[in-house]
């Protein structure tokens, strides 16, 4: 009766990589994605008349940028560049200070209160969800146009990102040294400084430097809404239609972002 192995059983044991539930949810996902994309493509408002001369406009755009107006650099762009760098750095410092406080509040191994944890988590999500440029609009209305508004915007927006990773680093800290300190009767501040700080220090520095890199990028555009720095120079050049000056600002932004990335990579490879 060996030959009577039912073909149905062999069929049932066919190897499948994913379970039925996985396949169904994935198919539903593909369908939803397709529907969303088709709906977006069909109902988005695009004025086709604008498209007719798009190639000429693009060529015109780059033709006007060349030759780049290098003479404008010492007059305006150099100061704007310095302002952008200081905005990014000062904003990061402010953000890191505020984020450290919120991170301690969020970390469940330090603050053992669900209410405080949740409040901290809400602060992190809310500050992160509002982009630096929207924060800048707000602070320009409050402080007036200038680097102060930009610095505050960078600081507020960075709290969420920095605080989130900092809180994760704190929660990953080993409890051994902390228990030892508590057992020796150390006051809470000493536990923080001597128990947690040495453990989170590498992560802390690495997160701060990484955020600084992002902030250099962001602070270069804040000036478009009045936040000072290179964006302000870009805005001036754009509204004057001096495309050779626009080209200069774009070049400077490119260089500064690349340099910031290289510096960050160097510092991070030293820390980690």
């Amino acid at each position: 009766m060996i030959t009577a192995a039912p073909p149905a059983a062999a069929h049932l044991r066919r190897w499948q990589r994913f379970t039925l539930a996985q396949r169904v949810t994935r198919s539903v996902f593909y369908l939803l994605a397709l529907v969303t994309i088709v709906w977006s493509l069909r109902s988005i408002e695009i004025v086709p008349e604008f498209l007719y001369d798009a190639p000429q406009q693009t060529v015109d755009l780059f033709a006007r940028m060349w030759p780049i107006d290098w003479a404008w650099y010492p007059k305006v762009v150099h100061d704007a560049l310095i302002e952008t760098l200081h905005t990014a750095t000062l904003g990061t410092i402010l953000a890191v200070i505020m984020a450290s406080l919120v991170a301690v509040m969020v970390a469940r191994n330090i603050t053992r209160s669900v209410v405080l944890n949740s409040i901290g988590r809400f602060i992190l999500v809310a500050t992160r969800s509002v982009h630096a440029m929207i924060w800048a609009l707000f602070f320009v209305a409050v402080f007036g146009p200038g680097a102060l508004a930009g610095t505050m915007a960078i600081a507020m927006h960075s709290i969420g990102f920095t605080g989130k990773f900092l809180a994760e680093a704190i929660e990953e800290a080993k409890p051994g040294p902390i228990e030892a300190l508590v057992a020796a009767g150390a006051p809470p501040l000493a536990v923080l400084l001597k128990g947690y700080w040495p453990q989170v220090k590498p992560a802390f520095l690495s997160i701060s430097v990484f955020r600084w890199d992002i902030n250099v990028r962001e602070s270069a555009v804040l000036g478009l809404v009045g936040g000072g720095g290179l964006g302000m120079a870009l805005d001036t050049a754009l509204s004057n239609l001096y495309w050779d000056q626009v080209g200069l600002v774009l070049f400077v932004i490119f260089v500064v972002v690349m340099v910031a990335e290289i510096v960050t990579a160097l510092i991070r490879s030293r820390i980690i």
């Binding site: 604008f50 809404v225 490119f254």
Partner: protein, 282 residues
């Protein structure tokens, strides 16, 4: 340095063999960490210096905070009038469409660009050219790219879509190239040994190895595009950003708050959806 020094100091203090310390010569458990102190001092000096450069003074801060109180009080309660809600709805829908289209096109185009940029698959000069393009795309903030597209194709959603496509390409292609460079070449060579043409090689040898990570990146990019779709409107790229900018210019601060709340909800929803996508394909 400190971490290595501290336990040794502690141990000599506690070890029974060491002579009982006289009160004068007692060692401090935690010696002052001069490196950190100097770093903190330097940081404080920098803050003072930067404040003077950026023209940040106490008076300006105080005046600003007084102003902020008035400003915030004008934001409350958020404006939910029907005509405003209609504006909000149109803007949000357009932002959503911009993000969806930009992600879809960006995902489609980033695969070929990423493959070209992978140094183990494509000829080196081509790979370096693709890498240079990716660096160019990635360096500029989406808002700056949006400005250029507004000039090229005019105000409206199309400029925003194109700007976000470029931003997505910069991010996704780089990660695709990295994933392809890290994958195992054995499977690729096995497929190549059967005499398969290049396209089959990619579909059978390369894609199965990178597709799971790629979907994770795409989910992240959708999240990121949703955030940035609110921004491109600030410079004329369409979507909710345009509505927000108009509301700011018209001092409609209660409507501003409504828009910002809606953006926060959109971004949070995006985070949930992208998290769900990543779990689905793990």
């Amino acid at each position: 340095m400190t971490r290595r020094d501290q336990p040794r100091t502690n141990m000599t203090d506690l070890s029974p063999r060491s002579p009982a310390p006289s009160s004068a010569a007692r060692r401090v458990a935690f010696p002052p960490n001069w490196q950190t102190r100097i770093a903190c001092l330097a940081l404080a000096l920098y803050v003072v210096y930067a404040c003077s450069i950026l023209d940040i003074s106490r008076e300006r801060l105080m005046a600003g905070f007084a102003h902020a109180a008035r400003f915030v009080s004008r934001m409350f309660p958020p404006n939910f009038a029907p005509d405003k809600l209609e504006l909000l709805y149109t803007g949000m829908v357009e932002s959503l469409q911009i993000a969806v289209i930009a992600t879809a096109v960006g995902v489609l185009l980033s695969l070929p660009l990423g493959l070209i940029a992978a140094r183990n698959l494509s000829p080196l000069p081509l790979a370096w050219a693709a890498r240079a393009l990716i660096v160019l795309f990635r360096t500029f903030h989406p808002v700056i790219i949006a400005i250029l597209f507004v000039k090229a194709v005019g105000f409206g959603a199309l400029a925003g879509v194109l700007a976000l496509i470029v931003a997505s390409l910069g991010f996704l292609s780089k990660l695709v190239a990295e994933a392809v460079e890290e994958m195992s070449m054995q499977q690729v060579e096995a497929v190549r040994a059967t005499g398969a043409p290049f396209l089959s090689l990619v579909i059978m040898g390369v894609l199965p190895q990178v597709v799971a990570r790629f979907i994770g990146f795409s989910a992240y990019q959708l999240d990121s595009n949703l955030r940035n779709s609110a921004l491109v409107g600030l410079v004329g790229g369409g979507g909710i950003g345009a509505t927000l900018f108009t509301a700011f210019q018209r001092f409609d601060y209660d409507f501003v708050l409504t828009i910002v709340l809606a953006i926060i909800v959109l971004v949070m929803a995006g985070e949930v959806v992208s998290g769900w996508m990543r779990r689905l394909f793990q």
